[in-house]
């Protein structure tokens, strides 16, 4: 089969690989119909995630058709059209039994601090991802779900991570009616988080980024006010001014490990890998939120330490909430919202490319060229 293969930092190519095989009785093999490139794939692409091995296939946002099932699979059959959460999880461990699907303890030998994720280095279990023609899906009775007939493929693939994560990030903010919500990062997760904040009753939503075309999308898709931090000397001061010097009630970090805005943080993390991530957006979030407020972290960071302004967080009495998203918990309600017509997830998709041109997709997304927001990848196109 054809698959995207990691060749080292900033280098990927499409290669012929063996079709994955059933390795566990509850495995399924899924023929990938549509995959996406996630912002967190860029951390792998840039060599930021420890134990990312040459030959690994990335890709944790995908839908497909069941090709083969293992002997103990009861809920899926060959030919089912399925959407698969980015979490690999068993459904039965201490954490899964409590709904913490993203923190499963039975699927990742390489680390206890993170669960299993498709195509996301050995630090998350060493699974191949779905930017390929086929992918192995462990625990087929637990994670995957048959896609409802009414749902479009492009909406379904966005539910497997980006939309669920944005929606979850807004929930972590514990938004109450009338809250001022600030979102750092106008990428896919930030756009969905801003849109979700309204569902939870926000009174005001402000999205901050440095890319004007993404801010335009935030105004159009997420009905948000926008601020371009590249045009400001001090974005935190601007947030104080805009909130009568109170600070925002809730701030969401939807930027994560490669946040721009501080040359020192960017170079020491994304380029020199001396930190687990550049916490520029997180530090701005801590300083922009009001005392007693909540910071929700949706951006991904690596396992090595990062220079976070923890003293400010402590002195301000903040609540910091975060996790990888337990995707499937979000689906029933999000299905309802999409059916109600509150929004169409695929409105943020800007690029659709065949698998064979995936290196171009990564570079477009990484360098933010051609007004890129979200790239979908179609194997066999």
């Amino acid at each position: 089969m054809q698959a995207m293969v990691y060749r080292g930092p900033y280098k990927i190519r499409v290669e012929e690989k063996d079709i994955p095989r059933i390795e566990h009785p509850n495995d399924a093999i899924v023929r990938v119909v549509l995959a996406a490139i996630c912002g967190s794939d860029l951390h792998l692409y840039h060599g930021m995630m420890p134990d990312t091995r040459i030959g690994t296939t990335f890709g944790h946002e995908f839908i497909g058709v069941v090709e083969e099932v293992g002997s103990s699979v009861q809920r899926l059959k060959r030919g089912d059209r399925v959407m698969v959460p980015f979490n690999v999880y068993c459904g039965s461990c201490y954490f899964c039994a409590r709904g913490l699907y993203s923190n499963c303890h039975n699927v990742n030998p390489n680390a206890t601090a993170v669960g299993g994720i498709y195509g996301y280095s050995h630090t998350t279990g060493g699974y191949d991802g779905a930017q390929a023609e086929f992918v192995r899906v462990p625990f087929a009775d637990v994670g995957p779900q048959v896609i409802p007939d009414w749902m479009a493929d492009e909406d379904a693939v966005l539910l497997t991570d980006a939309l669920a994560t944005g929606y979850f990030a807004a929930q972590l903010g514990d938004i109450v009616e009338g809250d001022t919500v600030v979102v750092f990062g106008a990428g896919p997760v930030g756009l969905y988080a801003a849109r979700s904040a309204w569902l939870m009753g926000a009174g005001r939503v402000i999205v901050i980024d440095h890319l004007e075309y993404r801010l335009a999308k935030a105004r159009e898709f997420a009905y948000a006010e926008t601020v371009n931090f590249a045009e400001l000397d001090d974005v935190v001061l601007e947030m104080k001014r805009q909130t009568d010097y109170l600070g925002a009630d809730v701030v969401i970090d939807a930027a994560g490990a490669e946040a721009d805005g501080s040359l020192l943080q960017q170079v020491t993390s994304a380029k020199l890998k001396l930190q687990g991530g550049s916490p520029t957006a997180l530090n701005w979030a801590i300083d922009s939120v009001r005392k007693g407020g909540t910071v929700s972290v949706a951006g991904a960071y690596g396992p090595v330490f990062s220079a976070v302004k923890f003293g400010d967080a402590m002195n301000k009495g903040l609540t910091l909430r975060m996790n990888q998203t337990p995707v499937k918990r979000q689906w029933p309600r999000l299905f309802e919202h999409i059916q109600q017509g509150y929004f169409r997830p695929s409105d943020i998709v800007t690029h659709r490319i065949p698998l064979e041109h995936i290196a171009d997709g990564y570079h477009l997304f990484s360098a933010k060229l051609d007004d890129c927001i979200k790239v979908l990848v179609r194997p066999g196109a």
Binding site: Y10, T56, G91, G126, L199, L364, L369
Partner: protein, 193 residues
Amino acid sequence: MTDVNRPYVADKPALLPTGEELRARIPGWGADLDRKDRPSYPRERFDPGATGAHWEFPERQEETYPRERSIEHGILPPVFGTVAPLHGLSGLLRSTAYKRYSEARLAHWLLLIAGDRVEAAGAHLRSTMSLHPDDPVTETGVRTERVDIERAAIRSRRADTSHRWIDPLLVAGPWVITGWIGYRIVRSLLGRR
């Protein structure tokens, strides 16, 4: 005192605009207003029957090669990925990281990162000598640059332009330096003969 406002006084800010106005303007406003009725509330909700798992503990996947694991795990978890098993010098570094240090230790992660760099260097070297060498044009996506970067830079101020000048140096620099050191070593060895 009329110009003194929150946070210096205790007044509750007015909801501007009102919920009704927002509901009329933004589809779905307030659909998840009740915090206790949101999908992730409460964070932990004990309900093992909700996941679809029909086992107390999953069957164990066959361990076809010695699978490395964090020493913070009491047992080898029953299911795991099998892509790219450990090999060579990078495998030795990674194996040491897993066998010797917990995830709490910086040495664990630094050894894993060292393993990544060693493996990448080996892959680059092997590729250069193979019939299918890496192609820096097609495999880096650099051909998508065209006029876009120039267009984007002109059109708006972007924070990432501040470090664009140093990026190629930081990304390609270590490879150039390593190549140069290698060249000097080979040259000095040949010179000695």
